[in-house]
Symmetry: C2
Subunit: 585 residues, 2 copies
C-alpha cells in the first residue's frame, strides 16, 4: 500500500503519528522559508509542510512540484498554527520527511477546482480530468449511493435482480433501435433493448413474482439535455398485485431514498392526480407542484364582450402571478415575446394588473369594463398586487402554452427551488392517443398496458375514452418513472394490437413469444421503471443528466474523449457481411 491514511482522514488526535500519504498536488505555496502543498485524493485535502531551515533539499524538491503531480510523502502529523476550519483536516498538517514523485503531470488544460476555467468542450475531451473535480465526482458518488439504496430496499422486499439480455430483437415500434450485425447469422441483426419490458413480463410468467434490474437501455433518438443514447433504468415488475399495491411499494422506495440520502422525510402520502386534472390545471402530464398558479378557465367570463380574439377561442384561461402587478411594460413585453417564441407558439398574451384600491389595468381595457376584469380576478382568486396572465385559442395548444408560461413565471418568482421536492403520482392516463402522422391510435405508454376494467367496453367503439391502469411518478415537473398494470391475457393483448393497427400476423411475428407465453398461465402483473439518470440529476439539483454520467455522449451521440463512434476495418465489415452505403447527394 502506498499510504497509511487517506488525505481526508487525519485529525488532531493523530498528532505525533508518522504517516504515509499519497495523492495529487492541488496547490503549492511558498511562504518565507516554508513551502505548503495541498495534497488531494478522493477523501479530502491534507496540508504538507516543508521547512527550508530543517531540510533545504527537501524544500527545494517540494517547490518544484507542479499542479496534479502524484506524490507520496512520509511525515509526522502536527498541529497547525493557523487552522483552517473549512476542511475536516484543517487542524493538522504533515511535517514531511520524505517526498517521492510517483508521477509527474503536464499543466492540465483547465483548473481542477469546483469553479473551473474549462469550457464544456474541453472538459468533455479530458473527462478523466473533469472527473477529478469534487463537484463532478460527488454526482457519481451520489449515483452509486442511490443505486445502493434502491437495491437494498428492493431486495429487502423480495425482488430478485435478474439480468435480461442486451442482444435482442429489433421491434420497430416507438423509438429507433440500435442494431448489431450478427457474424454467425449472416444478414441478421440483434438490437439493443429500449427497455427489458417483454423480458420482465416473461419473468412474471415464469413465476419470479418480483423482479428488478438496474439496467442500461438504448434509444437511437436525436439527443438533448435530458436524453442520452444509453441510459439507465431501475426496472421493476411484480405479480399478483393491483395498481394500489405497486404505487405504495414504489412510493415507499422513493421516500426511503429521500430519507437516507437527503434527510428529507415525506410524512404524507404522495398526491395522486388523474391525468385529466393534470392537463386541466397544469397543461402537462408532469406538473411541477412546487408552486400553485393553477390554470383557471375563464372562457365563459371572457366571451361576453366584443373581443374577437377571445370570442373565437375554444378556450380562454389564465394564471395568477402573485405580487406581479408592478411589472413594467418591458417585463410584460418580455413575457409576450416568451409565449410568442416559435417553440411555444402563442399569438399573444393578455394581462390584467390588480392594482391597489381595487382597480384593474389590462391590455384589453378597451374591450372589458372594470367589473368584467374584477369578475376574472375573483374567479382566479387574485388579490390586490397580483397579475393575471391570460392565453386563448385551441384548448390543447393553449394549455401547453400556458404550461410553459406558468413554469417561466415559477422560475422568475423563485418558486422552483432545487432544494424543494414535490412528488406526486399522475394516474388514469388514456390508454391510447391519436397519432396524426400515421393516422391511427398508438399506445400512450406501450402496447402491454392494461385498460381499466370499467373502460374495456369502449375499446372497440370509442378507444379514445379508454383509460389505462397506468401511472407516472412526477417530481418537480420531471417524469421520474412510470409504469402500468399489464395485460396478462392473450385475447386482450390481441385486441390491443388490433387497436394499434397491428394485424394478427404482424403481432405474431413481432411478439409471438409473448402471446405464446400468455397461453401457459400468465399471472396478473404490473410494474414500473424509474430513470436512474434523472433521479440522480434531481437529487443533485443538476440541469442535465450528462453531469451524473461518468462518460456521457454529446448531442451527436459522440464520446469526444475516446472519439467514438469511429471508422472500422474493412475486414471487420466483410466478416459481418455488411457494407457502408453512404448517400451521395
Amino acid at each position: 500500500m502506498y499510504r497509511s491514511h487517506t488525505c481526508g482522514e487525519l485529525r488532531l488526535s493523530h498528532v505525533g503519528t508518522q504517516v504515509t500519504l499519497a495523492g495529487w498536488v492541488q496547490r503549492n505555496r511558498k511562504l518565507g522559508g516554508m513551502t505548503f502543498v495541498d495534497l488531494r485524493d478522493r477523501y479530502g485535502i491534507t496540508q504538507l509542510a516543508f521547512d527550508e531551515a530543517v531540510n533545504k533539499e527537501l524544500n527545494d524538491q517540494a517547490q518544484k512540484l507542479g499542479r496534479e503531480f502524484v506524490v507520496q510523502v512520509v511525515g509526522v502529523v502536527a498541529e497547525r498554527s493557523s487552522k483552517n476550519n473549512k476542511i475536516p483536516t484543517g487542524d493538522i498538517e504533515i511535517v514531511v520527511e520524505k517526498l517521492t514523485v510517483l508521477n509527474a503531470s503536464e499543466v492540465p488544460p483547465f483548473t481542477i477546482e469546483d469553479e473551473t476555467d474549462g469550457g464544456d468542450d474541453i472538459r468533455m475531451k479530458y473527462r478523466y480530468l473533469d472527473l477529478r473535480r469534487n463537484v463532478v465526482r460527488k454526482n457519481l458518488e451520489l449515483r452509486n449511493q442511490l443505486s445502493f439504496e434502491v437495491r437494498n430496499y428492493l431486495i429487502k422486499n423480495g425482488f430478485i435482480e435478474t439480468e435480461t439480455p442486451v442482444l435482442i430483437n429489433s421491434t420497430p415500434e416507438g423509438a429507433r433501435d440500435f442494431i448489431v450485425p450478427s457474424r454467425m447469422n449472416p444478414g441478421e441483426f440483434y438490437a439493443l433493448p429500449q427497455s427489458p419490458q417483454l423480458f420482465k413480463q416473461l419473468l412474471m410468467v415464469s413465476g419470479f413474482d418480483r423482479y428488478f434490474q438496474i439496467v442500461k437501455c438504448f434509444r437511437d433518438e436525436d439527443l438533448r439535455a435530458d436524453r442520452q443514447p444509453e441510459f439507465t433504468q431501475i426496472d421493476c415488475e411484480m405479480s399478483f398485485v393491483e395498481q394500489e399495491y405497486v404505487l405504495n411499494m414504489f412510493e415507499e422506495l422513493v421516500k426511503q431514498v429521500f430519507r437516507n440520502i437527503k434527510g428529507i422525510d415525506f410524512k404524507e402520502p404522495f398526491l395522486r392526480m388523474p391525468y385529466a386534472e393534470a392537463m386541466e390545471f397544469y397543461g402537462s402530464d408532469k406538473p411541477d407542484i412546487r408552486f400553485g398558479m393553477k390554470f383557471v378557465d375563464i372562457t365563459k367570463e371572457a366571451q361576453i364582450r366584443d373581443f374577437a380574439v377571445f370570442n373565437s377561442a375554444q378556450y380562454v384561461a389564465g394564471i395568477c402571478a402573485e405580487g406581479c402587478a408592478s411589472y413594467s411594460r418591458k417585463e410584460l413585453d418580455g413575457l409576450t415575446d416568451f409565449v410568442k417564441r416559435p417553440q411555444i407558439g402563442a399569438k399573444g398574451l393578455v394581462y390584467v394588473k390588480c392594482e391597489q384600491g381595487g382597480t384593474f389595468k389590462s391590455s384589453v381595457d378597451k374591450f372589458y369594463s372594470q367589473e368584467d376584469l374584477k369578475s376574472w380576478a375573483e374567479k382566479m382568486n387574485a388579490k390586490e398586487g397580483d397579475l393575471l396572465l391570460i392565453l386563448s385559442g385551441d384548448k390543447v395548444a393553449t394549455q401547453k402554452q400556458l404550461c410553459e408560461l406558468r413554469l417561466e413565471m415559477g422560475e422568475r418568482l423563485g418558486l422552483r427551488d432545487k432544494n424543494v421536492f414535490a412528488p406526486l403520482w399522475v394516474v388514469d392516463f388514456p390508454l391510447l392517443e391519436w397519432d396524426e402522422e400515421s393516422g391511427r391510435f398508438k399506445a400512450m405508454h406501450h402496447p402491454f398496458t392494461a385498460p381499466k376494467p370499467e373502460d374495456v367496453q369502449f375499446i372497440e367503439t370509442a378507444p379514445e375514452k379508454v383509460r389505462a391502469n397506468a401511472y407516472d411518478m412526477v417530481l418537480n415537473g420531471v417524469e421520474l418513472g412510470g409504469g402500468s398494470v399489464r395485460i396478462h391475457n392473450g385475447e386482450m393483448q390481441q385486441k390491443m394490437f388490433a387497436c394499434l393497427g397491428l394485424s394478427q400476423e404482424e403481432a405474431q411475428s413481432k411478439f409471438g413469444y409473448l402471446l405464446n407465453a400468455f397461453k401457459y398461465g400468465a399471472p396478473p402483473h404490473a410494474g414500473l421503471a424509474f430513470g436512474l439518470d434523472r433521479f440522480v440529476a434531481l437529487l443533485a439539483g443538476l440541469d442535465s443528466i450528462r453531469d451524473c454520467i461518468a462518460f456521457p455522449k454529446n448531442n451527436s451521440g459522440r464520446d469526444v474523449m475516446i472519439n467514438a463512434p469511429s471508422i472500422v476495418d474493412k475486414e471487420q465489415l466483410e466478416e459481418l457481411n455488411i457494407a457502408i452505403k453512404l448517400e451521395t447527394k
Copy 2:
C-alpha cells in the same frame, strides 16, 4: 393484492385463519370424494383441499383445473391429517371456500418439475416455462444473492460502482468486437465493450480511488459451454495499491461470499502458486487442486535404456493414480484411447502397475528392469496398488496432455467433488507470449499489465523472460477471475506497445486517450475482474454457465425463444447507411 400470504408461508400456527392464496396448479389429485390441488409460487407449495360432500360445485370446479392454471383461492388454514414432512408447509392445507381461475393454461410442452421430461431445445424455446422449475429459478436466485454479497462487500470497502459506456470504440486486439452502426455519424460504428478496462483505468486517473461495476461485456467469439456472446463481469480497480493488497482484498471477498452463501469458512490464506509451478506440476495455469496427482518429471530416470520413444523425448513425466493397479486391460486401453483423441493428441500411454509384493507390471516391461520401474515408482511416491501413467514428447505439449489425463483420472476417481472448493491464486504470469500465427509477441493478460520491476531490464532484450504482476484466482480448475498491476507511466506503456509490434502512430490512434491521460498524473493502480456467470455456476455446481443465465444464447449466438438475431427492415438499414453484403459462394 391478490393474496394475503404466499404459498410457502403458512404453518400450524396459522390454523383457523382465513387466507387468500394465488399461484400455479402444480398437481391435481382425486381421492375418494376429495380433490387435492398443490398450489405453487416462487416461495413454495401449499395443498388446497376440496370436499365433494361439503360443496360439490366447488369440488367439480377444482377437478377441472389443469396443470399450470393460475388460480386464486380463499379458504381457511387447517391441520392436515397426513402430514408431508418434505415441505415446510406440509403440516397444513387450505380448506377452500372460493376458487377463481385467474388464467387458464394449455398443457405445457414439458413437465414443470425438477426432473423434467423436456429436452434442451424445447426448454430453451419455452425458457419462460423452464424458469418456472425450482432447480432453474434457484440458480437465478443464487446469482442475485451473489451480486448482492459482492456489492455489499465492495461498497463497505469504499468502492464506488460507476457505470462505464456500452457504446464505445472498436479496438481490434484480441477477440472480435460486436459493432453498432451510428445513424448520426454515417459510416462510423460504435463497438460493444469486451471489458471496461480502459475506462476503469481512466477512473483511476480521475482519482476515483476504488471503482467497481457488475457489468455486461461482449465478445463475438465462437461459443461453447462456458462462453456466451454477452457475459457479466465483476470489474474492480484500485489506486495506490500493490499486488499484495489487491490479492488480500479480493481473497476476503471470495471468503465472505463462501461464508455467507455456502456456509463454508476458509480459515487459511489461499495458496499462491507461481505460474511456472502450475505449469510444471499441473500443466495448466488453472490447476484443479482439489486433488494431488501432481506431475513427476522422470526424464532422467527414463532415458537410461534402449527405448527410443523416451530417449527421443524432450520430457518424460507421469502421474500416480492411487489404488488403480487393478485396472483391467480394457480400462487401460480406454485411457490410451483418451489421450490419443485428436483434441489431446498424445501418441501413446505408458503405464506401470505397482503390484502387491513389490513387483511392477508395465507396458514397457521389455525395455525396463524391475529396478528401473521401482526407481520411477519411488520418485513418483507410489505405493503398492498404485498405477503410474506416463507420457512423453515435447515438454509443453506433453504437459497439456498430462493435464487432461490427470483431470480425467480425478474425475474417474471421484476426486472432483462439486461440493469441495479449492481456491488458489496463480501469480507471476509471463508478461508476453509468443504468437506463432502473427510471428510476434502478444500480451498474456492485456497490453496494460505492468512487468515486474526486477524484470523490466529484459523487456527489450529477452521479452519472454519478463514476468508480470498479474494474478488469476482459480477455483476447482476454473479461472474465476484475474487481474494485474497496471502500467501507469506513459513511457512504459509505449515500450509495451512497441513490444507488441504496435507503432507509435497505431498506439496513438487506438489508445491515444489513455496515453494522454497518463501525462496528467496517473496514480499507481491495479485491478481485477471476476466472471460472474462462472462464479455462480461454480457455487451452484453447474456444468454450463448457461444454466445460471435467465435468457442465454445457444452455440450459434441465437436466442431461440425470441428468435434473435433476425432480419431488419430495409428502411432501418438505409437510415443507418449500411447494406447487407452476403458472399455468394
